[in-house]
């Protein structure tokens, strides 16, 4: 089946088998390997991408379902050579150790602060509860997302 999936603003058209998972489409066909495959069983959230702005587990979506949709991966966070505030904050706050969960954590964090510009500790923990960090570095992940929210808030000194 021919599909067109827009990944980070660029349209990719091609034939795909219906059983091809979105995560494999992104990694193998589009060639962006920032989206990780962790558990491959809808548990860990390493494969999180945004589909039309909503975070989903791309190991549990078919590529054909994304036909005509707009997908954002971790590679799409940076714009015009500028890191996204969430990327700056993960760097500044040591929001990662091994880095495997980081693309998913940052995308969930970016989607959260779009909706909620000043999330509480509890709200951040709630938002990332579908994403596992096996380094257990949650404290700094929460701090980083809150710092990014502060940095992204309009009207505040940066």
């Amino acid at each position: 089946m021919e599909v067109t999936v827009t990944v980070n603003g660029a349209a990719h058209t091609g034939e795909v088998e219906p059983r091809l998972l979105l995560v494999d489409h992104i990694r193998r066909v589009v060639g962006l390997t920032g989206t990780h495959i962790g558990c491959d069983t809808t548990s860990c959230g390493a494969c999180t991408v945004l589909v039309d702005g909503t975070p989903v587990k791309s190991c549990t979506v078919l590529a054909v379902q994304a036909d005509g949709r707009s997908v954002t991966t971790v590679e799409g966070l940076k714009t015009n050579g500028q890191l996204h505030p969430i990327q700056e904050a993960f760097s500044a706050e040591h929001g990662l150790q091994c880095g495997f969960c980081t693309p998913g954590m940052m995308l969930v964090g970016a989607a959260l602060i779009e909706q909620n510009p000043a999330p509480s500790d509890e709200e951040v923990r709630w938002a990332i509860s579908g994403n596992l960090c096996r380094c257990t570095g949650y404290m700094n992940i929460v701090k980083a997302i809150q710092a990014a929210a502060g940095a992204a808030a309009p009207g505040e000194d940066q």
Binding site: R19, T41, T42, G45, P55, T60, V61, G130
Partner: protein
């Protein structure tokens, strides 16, 4: 991991979806959120020959009150139920406990109901509230009470050519409350044990309607009719709730597994039933009569 091969069609309307399903029979499955179906296909527990994607059908994501019911369409995602002010009592209580936030962005209430997983949360909520499932087939629409809809583990009363288009949850006229208490090892895991409780308090202060249902402690979600019968007609109270909790514990059929022993799960049913009923009563009594 990836599923075995299948044909994929996108339905533009409910009629088209039903026609495609009727053609393929039980080898064809509807694809809504896919958050249970796709994982089962990846481990080859399910190997449908064809998927009929209903996600692009317009008008199935409705949530509205009509004729004393909250109507939830086939494409309403769990996340919408978490965010909505229209969900009440036990339903509002259960929504944030369904799987995890990312799964809730895709998974649907109607899909979960049709899936009939005994470890699924929604069927307990529907049993406790006395909801109806609306199914549409080539011959038209029928309304199936949830108690007859659930036939067994992963088995429903749906015919091969029928699709769940809506679930209807009664909205009580009188004061009402509900709670869904779920014990889970971690976010996203199935319930070790969960209890749904729903109470309607009549004008005279006695319980007018009661619903108690259990998750993960039987071959299907368990409706505890004996407890419901004991509650109706009585004023809410601790002793009454303890008695209902005993009946719930007796009705549970837990099995020992990695999540705990059968005896312990039965004890959790007992404790959670008492607590859920207490919370349900408190919510109802806090409303103006």
């Amino acid at each position: 991991m990836f599923p075995s091969q299948f044909d994929y069609v996108v339905a533009a309307s409910v009629e088209e979806a039903i026609a495609a399903k009727a053609e393929g029979g039980d080898e064809t499955r509807f694809l809504a959120g896919g958050q249970s179906l796709l994982p089962m296909m990846k481990i080859r527990l399910a190997t449908p020959a064809k998927l009929v994607d209903i996600n692009r059908i317009a008008g199935l994501d409705h949530m509205e009150r009509a004729d004393g019911h909250l109507r939830v369409g086939a494409l309403v995602r769990h996340a919408q139920l978490v965010a909505s002010g229209d969900t009440l009592g036990v339903m509002a209580s259960a929504a944030p406990w369904v799987s995890d936030p990312l799964v809730r962005n895709l998974g649907t209430l109607c899909g979960s109901v049709a899936h009939c997983d005994p470890e699924g949360d929604w069927n307990s909520v529907l049993l406790a509230t006395g909801a109806d499932v609306v199914a549409r087939g080539p011959g038209g629409e029928r309304t199936i009470p949830i108690g007859s809809f659930i036939r067994g583990p992963f088995t429903s009363a749906l015919a091969d050519d029928e699709m769940v288009t809506e679930v209807r949850i009664p909205v009580p006229q009188d004061r009402s409350g509900g709670a869904y208490l779920k014990l889970e090892r971690k976010v996203g895991d199935y319930a070790t044990v969960a209890v749904a409780a729903h109470l309607v308090v009549a004008g005279d202060g006695t319980i007018g309607e009661a619903g108690v249902a259990l998750t993960s402690v039987g071959p299907s979600n368990v409706k505890v009719t004996a407890a419901e019968q004991v509650l109706v007609g009585q004023p809410p109270g601790e002793e009454l709730f303890a008695e209902a909790a005993e009946l719930a514990a007796a009705a549970a059929e837990p099995r020992s597994d990695v999540r705990g022993t059968a005896d312990w799960k039965r004890q959790v049913v007992r404790t959670y039933t008492r607590r859920a009923l207490t919370a349900a009563a408190a919510e109802a009594m806090a409303q103006a009569s």
